[in-house]
């Protein structure tokens, strides 16, 4: 039985298989930023409170500062860099939450934005798209993330707008 201080992990990041060797104590957030050079994932508090580092592991949103890199060996990770879709012509089609953030002016400095986008994308994809989103649902989706700039009003507006876009797309 092996106790390791370092491991080589294989992770599918934004659809691309990646391999990297990390010390056991490496947080997933740091592995993404330092080892895989994906600096879209932001690190604010580094103890689970702000949500800036939220990524999807096997499709489920988690705080990447509260997961060890060695724990995602064999799993699929999606970061904000993987949120937009390829349009097949060398460009990208924004995810509805990205579209809504732009439309509703839901960011100022942008530090919290990747975390909000990932949390919101997962939250909206998980809900029943045939219904209109309620204020309670919006609060539940954005409530775990901190923003120091916007005052949240436009972030919540973007959440409602994105829910609307996704409802239309489902109709």
């Amino acid at each position: 039985m092996i106790v390791s201080t370092e491991r080589t992990i294989s992770v599918t990041v934004n659809g691309v298989p990646r391999e990297t060797t990390v010390p056991a104590r490496r947080l997933l957030s740091d592995a993404l930023r330092h080892d895989l050079q994906l600096t879209g994932t932001h690190v604010g508090c580094e103890h689970g409170v702000c949500g800036a580092c939220t990524v999807l592991v096997d499709g489920t949103p988690v705080r990447s500062c509260l997961v060890l890199a060695v724990q995602v060996d064999g799993k699929a990770v999606t970061t904000v860099e993987g949120l937009a879709r390829d349009d097949g012509r060398g460009g990208e089609i924004l995810h509805p939450v990205q579209e809504a953030f732009r439309e509703c002016h839901a960011l100022q400095c942008g530090f919290c934005t990747p975390g909000f986008l990932m949390t919101m994308a997962a939250g909206l994809e998980a809900r029943d798209r045939s219904t209109d989103i309620t204020e309670d649902e919006v609060d539940e989706i954005v409530g775990g993330n901190l923003c120091r700039c916007t005052g949240y009003a436009n972030i919540k507006k973007a959440c409602r707008h994105a829910a609307g876009l996704m409802k239309e797309a489902a109709e």
Partner: protein, 291 residues
């Protein structure tokens, strides 16, 4: 804000995990939602983390609706989010879904385990109080074998349990709600999903004529270990529609011994105990009529 170096092992059997845990400075890693912040803040620096996430057989919720052992058995790898959405479990013990909806935010509930929050024994955790209020127990596996430990013997102090040495809590058992019994859960927090400034879980039992035979409460972020307070004396024999819940709230205020901290004074917490008790008991009593 980075953890100190440690060794990492992810055993695939309970026996292996227990062997690894016999080493000095080895610690169980479950969801990591409480442990990793402690490591990053360097409040803990274990020599080895024994990750239990790859051990099979610890991830099920077993619901026994009636008869012997009626209740809900929650394995060590069941995440808060699973209990929150488990309709069958909610039927047999409604406090589970009601309380987990107050545990942290969705991204944390996706990873944090319910058993981990009990093993962590944080007096501001919801599930420690729910284990107490339902009269539950945990199963503790050690190299010498497995045994059940009742909630009152398990919680010793803030972040401290009676389990020492190599051990894995393999499951928590929440007994089923008795007939003619209703529950309610409510908390006050600065932001939805944050640790509660004060929270209350209650059960109310009625007789055939809808008169109160039992009223009990357990509080969150009040006191050093979870406790169950019997408030029956304030309302016993009273009809569900005219029971004096205010008196029960007043009684509760005299029974608790909250501390003050950065988030709230002791007096404010005591006030909240009264208010939340009154509100939740009334709701639980209404529900009891229909069960």
């Amino acid at each position: 804000m980075k953890p100190a170096p440690f060794g990492y092992a992810d055993p695939t059997s309970l026996d292996e995990a227990l062997t690894l845990l016999t080493e000095d400075g080895a610690k169980v890693l479950a969801g990591g939602q409480s442990l990793l912040p402690l490591l990053s803040m360097r409040l803990a620096s274990p020599a080895t983390l024994v990750d239990i996430n790859r051990i099979p057989g610890l991830d099920s919720v077993v619901v026994t609706p009636s008869g012997d052992g009626a209740g809900v058995r929650v394995g060590a790898l069941v995440r808060h989010v699973e209990l929150l959405h488990h309709a069958e479990a909610a039927q047999v013990q409604p406090l589970l879904a009601r309380a987990t909806s107050n545990v942290a935010h969705p991204a944390i509930r996706n990873r944090g385990t319910t058993v981990g929050s009990i093993a962590h024994a944080d007096p501001s955790g919801e599930m420690t109080s729910v284990l107490a209020l339902t009269g539950g127990s945990v199963t503790v596996a050690t190299p010498a074998g497995s045994s059940a430990v009742g909630w009152a013997d398990f919680f010793v102090g803030p972040l401290e349990t009676s389990v020492h040495g190599p051990a894995v809590v393999t499951e928590a058992f929440f007994p089923a709600l008795p007939p003619r019994t209703g529950t309610a859960f409510e908390e006050v927090s600065r932001r939805k999903g944050d640790y509660a400034v004060c929270g209350a879980g209650v059960t109310v039992t009625l007789d055939e004529d809808s008169r109160v035979t039992s009223a009990r409460a357990s509080y969150i972020s009040v006191g050093l270990v979870p406790e169950v307070h019997d408030l029956t004396d304030a309302v016993v024999g009273q009809s569900v529609d005219s029971a004096d819940w205010t008196a029960a709230g007043a009684l509760a205020r005299t029974l608790v011994d909250p501390d003050g901290d950065l988030h709230a004074s002791a007096d404010y917490r005591r006030l909240l105990v009264g208010v939340l008790t009154e509100r939740t008991l009334a709701r639980a009593a209404q529900e009891a009529q229909n069960r």
